[in-house]
Symmetry: C2
Subunit: 281 residues, 2 copies
């Protein structure tokens, strides 16, 4: 017997991986959670049928979410991660000694429990004493917080299910208030390629622009995600992602990465024409 | 009934597209040729079961193969395209008035015939009076040519079938001889991501380095190709792909592109750490 997991990239495009065995299959209060062991992508976390992270290429996503803002902002002490219950963003953040507090706000405690048990390479740093996990909805947690965080990372699922509220103008306004006067907001920004995603990308960018004076996107190659061409949003009150990049300082930190470097940091902001047109950049 | 075409990215990873109808299915002297009309990728050319180009994203491949060297080399007059029977590379080349001759060397006349009939958006410029099509093997055509071309583009299939010879040290040596003293060689260089491809990338790069003083790779996002993270090789006798980029001159040409621009040109050479390690760059 062969077991294959298929992620539906669009109604007419499918991406499938051969599965060695299913490690977890359960239904939490919020969603269906599956953890698969695949041949080429290692362990794979699937929520409500949609691929979240794979052991093989999660480093690209998490390095790009974290090190881009960290190489720009001169002194990040307090970080809010919305979503990110797998612990990958926290893992990259804990590489910085200067960070004092990391609040991870994950709605589903089962995701954290399963990642801690089956995905220690990703989730181990959730036990770091600077990391506090809050089992709560991201919007509810952030609402009413003012001038507190240097960096907010929105590390969430696609905007078609429970994460829909994390792509709204209201939510980005809440983030703006929760950030200090020189804070940076990073959000997973979908792919510009397939039409359905492209519309989300366009809307999210418009909503962020409404609140933040600096707002652009940067790209990376994530093979297991639809089209492989993935965007993050970089929004900030003060810092420009290229002019304020302190490459010398970052390189002197000696942080080990497999995807990110400060040259690639710059290149990630040099977008294809069709993406600039989509976002009116 | 639903019809799906599946491209096997590895033994354990599949990429599938829903097919509206099959337009062509035949066996030429060299290979099996299929042309499919798909829902999300438009027309798709398949040779021996492997996806070659799609109507939807071929612009990325062909723009990146052509405009990167054209924005670096100051006066390209004569170009050799090895493979490229679909006409996409020729189409981008004919946008330059300064180019006087484009030799397209395609082994399989049936590929050209089918693309002319079914893929006019890609193949139309094969009728440009500067384009000469030679139905011959690439190595055989280039062997014995000395000091003749300003630019050679190796626009071929994966190195596991008929195109295997186009990834050898011998072939790159032949290209070196066929190029003028300031010539540039561009070759499609596979993906660095999946292990099987990564080994080809590594070998091809070593072989090119053996002949050319300047040798590096650059990347782009091609959603329909394995991993979506695609490389081209840039090898040259004289020009550096970034230092010798004449962005002002290129931008003044007013050439319309949907992916390429001179900022992205630079960014394409800023590679992830794991790719630099693979290639020892």
């Amino acid at each position: 017997m062969e077991l294959w997991y298929t992620d539906q990239h669009t109604d007419n495009v499918r991406f499938s991986m051969k599965v060695e065995k299913e490690l977890v299959s359960l239904e939490s209060f919020y969603q269906k959670i599956n953890l698969l062991k695949t041949y080429d992508y290692g362990k794979v976390l699937v929520l409500d049928g949609e691929l979240m992270i794979t052991e093989r290429d999660e480093f690209i996503y998490h390095e790009m979410a974290v090190h881009v803002p960290m190489a720009v902002h001169p002194k990040v002490k307090k970080v809010l991660v919305i979503g990110g219950g797998d612990g990958g963003s926290a893992r990259e953040l804990t590489k910085y000694d200067t960070i004092e507090q990391i609040d991870v706000v994950e709605v589903d405690a089962e995701v954290v429990r399963i990642c801690k048990e089956f995905f220690p390479e990703v989730s181990d740093s959730l036990s770091d004493k600077r990391v506090k996990i809050h089992f709560e909805e991201g919007i509810r947690f952030a609402r009413g917080i003012y001038d507190e965080y240097d960096l907010i990372i929105v590390d969430c699922a696609d905007p078609y299910g429970p994460a829909e509220g994390l792509f709204t103008r209201e939510f980005y306004g809440i983030c703006w208030k929760a950030l200090k006067e020189d804070g940076i907001l990073i959000n997973q920004h979908e792919s510009p390629y397939y039409e359905q995603h492209a519309r989300s990308v366009q809307m999210a960018h418009k909503h962020i622009q409404f609140s933040f004076p600096y707002s652009t996107v940067y790209q990376c190659h994530i093979p297991s995600y639809p089209s492989g061409h993935w965007l993050f949003g970089f929004a900030s009150k003060k810092y420009d992602p290229i002019k304020d990049l302190d490459d010398e300082k970052w390189n002197n930190l000696g942080i080990q990465t497999r995807y990110y470097n400060t040259k690639l940091h710059q290149g990630a902001f040099y977008l294809p024409n069709y993406v600039m047109e989509l976002l009116e950049i």
